[in-house]
Amino acid sequence: METLTKNKEQKENTKTVIELRNVKKSFGSKNVLTDISMDLFKGENLVVLGKSGTGKSVTIKCMVGLLVQDEGSVVVLDEDVNNLSSPDLKELRTKVGFLFQSGALYDSMTVRENLEFPLTRVLKIKDQDEIKQRIEEVLEAVGLLSAIDAMPSDLSGGMRKRIGLARTLILKPEIMLYDEPTTGLDPITSREISELILLMQKKYKTSSIIITHDMACAEITSDRILVMNEGKVIAEGNFEELKNSQDELVGSFFK
């Protein structure tokens, strides 16, 4: 494996918010995760690079209990995800935001209703003034206050991702998981989304995992990068270190 960016002492001083150890997952006869171990430290942006089909999305889905690993352990905010009761898992999920590749907006609801949904169902907020204030605050943060009454079908791909991000951030999560946030967007919008991720990390003080194969996004957002291949981590380092890597596969991402 490539050089580690953060030295041991630095790591020891930083709290681990997500810890994966020897995670294995297969679908039928296909082994998707062969042996994954990784840590996410508090306050950092960790980018996970890898070709399509190497198990990046499966890894982050295991972190929120959407998929259950066959072997190994997934510990999020000191809780073993697979040993949690249903109410405890729900509670944990409110602390972990997940931005899906497509934004996953509820297409039968307006933007306002999309943002109201987690507030009224998860945080059980009844006060209409508080709901209004939180919706406007988070929409302002992603720069789309004007789209408050629009339907998802009226929004562009970039706008949908921004609203998806707003809907996730409205619960004020401690950890953000981004599943290919810039896929399918033009370079300018991709850059805007990447900068928004960085901005949101500073504003909401989140720790984030960003799954991507967009190198511009990785360069803007990453504090540390993991490279995955065939279901395991093959390299770790910061952008500059991995850019100068001698490994052919790692190097190919930066060409």
Binding site: T94, F98, Q101, S102, F117, P118, V122
Partner: protein
């Protein structure tokens, strides 16, 4: 062979688990009242014209078809009663349920299937909300309540259709027709047929939700979910009808 048997048991297990999820969430806190009313509106109100027209024509056509034969036996005056019994006991509940399986079960299957494909259900789950309570409980309950009500309306319109058909030649007054239609009807004609529509409604909602909620990834699966929802719901309706008729003939008509 072993694999297909295993698949049948797996499918049965999944359906039982889905059903227990539904029942577990009905009485739990956080019932989605607004969404339930919205679903009642979509399932009930938006099916009114289709169900109404179908019901009216069923009564109309049945009367027109049976009248000549009955008259041949000199039993023309029995047509309103015969039509009323057939319509209320069997024809309206089954035909309306099959039509609703086509309209409602497929639309629920396609809607939830596309929500699954576009990761909206995952997004709901991962945010800590309860997708079963919001999407499944509301739809199944709305179907269970609205299908019997739609069938009752179709029953009434079918009798009106029968009256219209009989009255083309100006044979009956309104009062005479309905007097003849209702006189052979008893409580045990209406109650079991109403009760079975509750089960039909449940089957339509349940199958639509199950197929949509458990559809695979990919756009093709949305079509597959909608299609298999109609096929399975129709099959369930026929099977439930066979059971209901058997039970009714044992307990009600004897």
């Amino acid at each position: 062979m072993t694999t297909s048997v295993k698949k049948v048991f797996e499918e049965a297990g999944n359906q039982i688990s889905f059903m227990s999820g539904f029942f577990g969430n009905i009485f739990s806190r956080g019932f989605e009242g607004n969404e339930f009313i919205r679903q009642c509106f979509i399932i009930g109100y938006k099916s009114l014209s289709l169900v109404g027209i179908t019901g009216f024509i069923l009564g109309f056509v049945m009367t027109l078809q049976s009248e000549p034969t009955m008259k041949g036996f000199g039993a023309g005056s029995f047509v309103p009663g015969m039509v009323a019994i057939s319509i209320i006991r069997e024809i309206c509940p089954v035909i309306i349920a099959l039509i609703c399986a086509g309209k409602i079960s497929s639309s629920i299957g396609a809607e939830l299937g596309s929500m699954k494909v576009s990761e909206q259900i995952d997004a709901m789950e991962v945010s800590g909300a309860n997708p079963i309570q919001y999407l499944v409980v509301t739809r199944i309950l709305a179907c269970t309540i609205m299908i019997p009500l739609l069938t009752l309306m179709a029953d009434a319109l079918a009798l009106l259709g029968g009256f219209t058909a009989s009255n083309i030649g100006g044979h009956y007054s309104f009062l005479l027709y309905f007097n003849k239609a209702f006189s052979p009807l008893t409580f045990v004609d209406l109650l079991p047929s109403f009760a079975k529509t509750i089960f039909f409604g449940f089957a339509i909602g349940f199958v639509g939700c199950y197929k949509g909620y458990n559809s695979n990834r990919g756009t093709e699966s949305v079509g597959v979910a909608a299609n298999s929802a109609v096929v399975s719901a129709s099959l369930w309706i026929i099977l439930l009808d066979a059971i209901a008729v058997q039970l009714t003939s044992v307990f009600a008509y004897n």
